[in-house]
């Protein structure tokens, strides 16, 4: 059976023509990695190809044995019989989508992407392909993002309210990407310093080292003993919520910045006071627009619950499928 240009195997998404895997799930000899988030970048690979601006963060996250090759956006390079080009994905600093060209055609593969502007990374660039493998983390029409400026204004209002009540404002968000995007959006709109959880500090330093303008920050660990953070903004990863670390912020109000906050139950279940709807992923309209912009006749959903998007695009006349890239891995223990 002709398996196509790319297909899922035991290592993840495999390209036989170039003998490489994209965002492999298990260690492989040769990998193209779209970005440094843990569900896409794993350690233990041999050769790793990634977009140049993403290498410092990638090195921080999964360094060690990997040998990195920095690729320029839009510059094709050959792997075996395949010609590979990385394009900006607009997801986080140094994130990429992958174009794979062989004699059998052209495929586009997304790691994660968004279409909304982000001061910390190059904007998404569409390219023509026959088959488009799209993420669809937020693959339902209930997910529609509002303007970033409005969300930042909501965050500032909330912080201001906390300041008036002399309470710490603890803002949870992913330590890589979202945190720096918020810090960049706050730059020039508020006065720092913003306090950072230890997990965010080195990643934020990586961003600063590449010349990005972020609001002033200080690590929480440098605060004086007994300091109450009254009226201050503190940023931390969601894993810190409910941990003993939070005792440093008596009477705090908590907020979470995430696309998931669009659904009220998601916020209430996690017990956050405030939810701010800001995502580094494409929303439903952007997923559809992107499928159109890529001019692909065939769309395959990966990463996320893709059946709704696949069904919708099928009704629009496209050839669609949903792939589970983990289908060939051993079963995950419950």
């Amino acid at each position: 059976m002709h398996k196509g240009l790319l297909y899922p195997d035991a290592g993840g998404l495999y390209c036989p023509a170039g003998e490489f895997w994209i965002d492999p799930l298990t260690p492989v000899p040769r990998a193209v990695i779209t970005h440094a988030h843990a569900d896409h970048a794993r350690s233990g690979n041999g050769e790793v190809f990634a977009a140049g601006p993403g290498i410092p963060v990638l090195d921080h996250r999964v360094g060690g044995a990997n040998t990195f090759t920095a690729c320029q956006y839009g510059q094709p390079f050959d792997l075996g019989r395949a010609r590979v080009t990385l394009f900006p994905a607009g997801h986080i600093l140094g994130s990429a989508t992958v174009r794979v060209e062989t004699d059998d055609g052209t495929w586009g593969v997304s790691g994660d992407f968004k279409r909304a502007p982000d001061p910390t990374c190059a904007p998404f660039e569409p390219f023509a392909c026959d088959t488009w493998l799209t993420e669809c983390t937020f693959g339902l029409p209930v997910y529609r993002w509002q303007d970033t400026g409005e969300v930042i204004a909501e965050i500032l209002d909330w912080w201001q309210g906390c300041r008036q009540q002399q309470r710490p404002a603890v803002l949870f968000c992913y330590a890589l990407g979202k945190a720096q995007r918020v810090l960049a959006e706050l730059h020039g709109r508020a006065l720092g310093p913003v306090w950072l959880h230890g997990a965010m500090q080195p990643l934020t330093d990586c961003y600063r080292a590449q010349g990005l303008g972020l609001i002033d920050t200080r690590p929480v660990s440098e605060a004086d003993k007994g300091y109450k953070f009254a009226g201050d903004l503190v940023m931390a990863p969601p894993s810190a919520a409910g941990s003993p670390w939070m005792r440093r912020f008596p009477r705090h109000s908590s907020g979470f910045v995430s696309g998931w906050m669009r659904v009220r139950g998601n916020r209430r279940r996690r017990g956050y006071d405030r939810g701010f709807i800001l995502s580094d992923h494409a929303d439903w309209p952007a997923l559809i627009k992107t499928a159109q912009d890529m001019a692909a006749k065939r769309v395959i959903t990966i990463h996320g619950n893709g059946e709704a998007l696949a069904g919708y695009l099928r009704e629009q006349g496209l050839d669609t499928e949903s792939w589970n890239l983990r289908q060939n891995l051993g079963q995950r223990p419950a």
């Binding site: 339902l140 029409p141 209930v142 529609r144 109000s253 669009r262 659904v263 009220r264 139950g265 998601n266 209430r268 279940r269 017990g271 006071d273 405030r274 059946e307 709704a308 069904g311 919708y312 009704e315 079963q331 995950r332 419950a334």
Partner: protein, 531 residues
């Protein structure tokens, strides 16, 4: 509407009870009484009578959003709340500076929907959708779909009103009981200073609720200070006799007119100005009948002669809250018991829930162990010196229930939950062995921790076998210990049995599917068929 939406946002943006209380107090102080009355009505969980059905709402959402119907359903399954799903799918409407007052919206636009023909109704709702935005539109949808759970308890609303009124919250709780209309006059009365005759005498008193006893009874102190009764498995009710009329109120504050004619007949002999607290039981020849018999009466507004004959009921009185028009709630339980005995000498057909003689705590465990065969749930322990309080106040009334039955069942189906648990698989179906088959015997929703729910949810997503709409069948792997209160034969269920109040006790990761229970063993627990 803007003010009510702002209140909702304030309530929704904090998890702190004091902040919620402050938001409610501010609102009740500032809002016009006509609006505040509706706010009280919604926040205390009283719905409007059904205005539009959910099928229509879904169809209109399909039309207004331009999405295929299946995608609207997928979205609803994901969000778990129809009002919110509609709000998230409808196109954004322009911000508006003016919106009708809450009472105008309800009285002039929402309530009249019921009388309109289908086309006009659709047109009106679609217009409302495009005229309201943000929280206001979400709240409109909540009102249209009926459920209004927003993380505020009735008790908290009561506390806020009491603070505004400057009266005791038990008085406000009483004013909120029974039937009322959301009028400005009603709201004014809610927040009025205390007076002798501001209450309709047919309004039930708030029920005093017992707390579960977790320790041995001996921890309660001297046995002589306590009274023991059987804990009946019926419907808690308050019986009011006034002006030659009888009013029977359920604990859900429903007036059960005409449903229990035998009790109404028995109560005719009571003097005016009497209020009794007690239990409606399925009852024959001085013995309780199983709860399943009572269930035949619960839905019947006007029971026929056959139902009256096969499912007879009785009122078992266990407290006296008013006698001769005098409120006895501040008196001690022993005084109220004396009043109850005297009242019942007039009404021989009302039963008295018997007080159990016991001299020391050692006698009780043996009695409690007889609960199942006596058809009761356990024992009630009440302090003889206790007044009749409002709501669940710990210390004076305890329920000491028998240990529930348990069995080990296999998870076979899962379905997403609603509200707070939306988007997570939290509604489970469990099966036991029947020969080579697994037959479903119970559905359960509660009993797991959030961490367990999250873990199980991930597992279910990765081990789905088949989908039937929102329901997924999963590989039979996980075994859970479930508790339940009782078991009945049921021809409607494939297993032939129906359990009462099944819930998850714990996740038995130490057990394999073969260790789960067998249907024939569960059937041994069935009560003997009635002669």
């Amino acid at each position: 509407m803007k003010r009510f939406a702002a209140l909702f946002d304030r309530l929704d943006r904090t998890t702190a009870t004091n902040a919620k209380l402050a938001a409610l107090v501010d609102y009740f102080r500032q809002a016009p009484p006509a609006d505040a009355a509706w706010a009280v009505r919604f926040l205390t969980g009283r719905r409007l009578k059904r205005l539009v059905n959910t099928r229509e709402l879904r169809e209109w959402t399909v039309a207004a959003s331009g999405l295929p119907a299946w995608l609207v359903e997928d979205s609803y399954e994901h969000v778990g709340d129809l009002a919110e799903t509609m709000h998230l799918l409808l196109p954004d409407s322009a911000q508006n500076d003016t919106s009708p007052a809450l009472h105008e919206l309800i009285e002039q636009q929402v309530q009249p929907l019921r009388q309109l023909d289908d086309d006009t109704r659709r047109q009106r709702v679609t217009e409302l959708w495009s005229s309201l935005s943000g929280t206001e539109r979400f709240l409109l949808n909540k009102i249209l779909t009926g459920g209004f759970r927003v993380g505020v308890s009735r008790r908290l609303v009561t506390r806020a009103l009491a603070e505004v009124a400057g009266v005791d919250s038990s008085l406000v709780a009483h004013r909120l009981m029974g039937r009322w209309q959301a009028t400005p006059q009603f709201f004014q009365r809610l927040i009025a200073p205390a007076s002798d005759d501001d209450l309709d005498q047919a309004t039930p008193y708030p029920f005093f609720l017992a707390s579960p006893l977790e320790d041995e009874p001996s921890t309660l102190g001297a046995a002589a200070a306590w009274q023991a009764e059987w804990k009946w498995d019926g419907i808690r009710a308050q019986l009011i006799r006034r002006g030659g009329q009888t009013f029977i109120w359920s604990r859900g504050e429903e007036l059960m007119e005409g449903r229990f004619p035998e009790i109404e007949a028995a109560a005719e002999a009571l003097p005016d100005g009497s209020v009794l607290d007690g239990e409606i039981m399925a009852w024959r020849d001085g013995q309780p009948l199983p709860f399943a018999v009572l269930q035949k009466r619960i839905g019947r507004k006007k029971p026929g002669p056959k139902t009256l004959q096969t499912a007879p009921v009785a009122f078992l009185a266990y407290d006296c809250l008013k006698r001769g028009g005098r409120d006895l709630r501040e008196q001690s339980l022993s005084e109220r018991m004396a009043a109850l005995d005297q009242l019942l000498t007039h009404a021989n057909d009302l039963h008295r829930s018997r007080i159990i003689d016991f001299n020391d705590w050692q006698a009780l465990p043996e009695l409690q162990a007889q609960s199942r065969e006596r058809g009761v749930e356990g024992l009630m322990l009440k302090r003889l010196a206790s007044p009749y309080q409002v709501g669940r106040k710990r210390g004076d009334w305890w329920k000491w229930k028998v240990e529930p039955y348990t069995f080990d069942g296999v998870l076979i189906y899962a379905q997403p939950g609603h509200g707070r648990r939306s988007g997570l698989f939290t509604d489970y179906t469990f099966a036991v062995h029947d020969g080579d088959e697994l037959v479903p015997v119970a559905k359960a929703y509660s009993g797991l921790t959030q961490a367990e729910i999250d873990r199980l949810d991930r597992w279910i997503r990765n081990h789905t076998r088949e989908r039937f709409g929102p329901v997924r069948s999963v590989e039979p792997v996980h075994v859970f210990e479930l508790a339940f209160e009782g078991i009945q034969a049921s021809p409607r269920h494939k297993s032939g049995i129906a359990m009462r109040f099944p819930r998850i006790h714990r996740w038995r990761e130490d057990l394999a599917v073969t260790d789960a229970d067998r249907l024939e063993d569960l059937k041994k627990l069935l009560p003997d068929p009635p002669q």
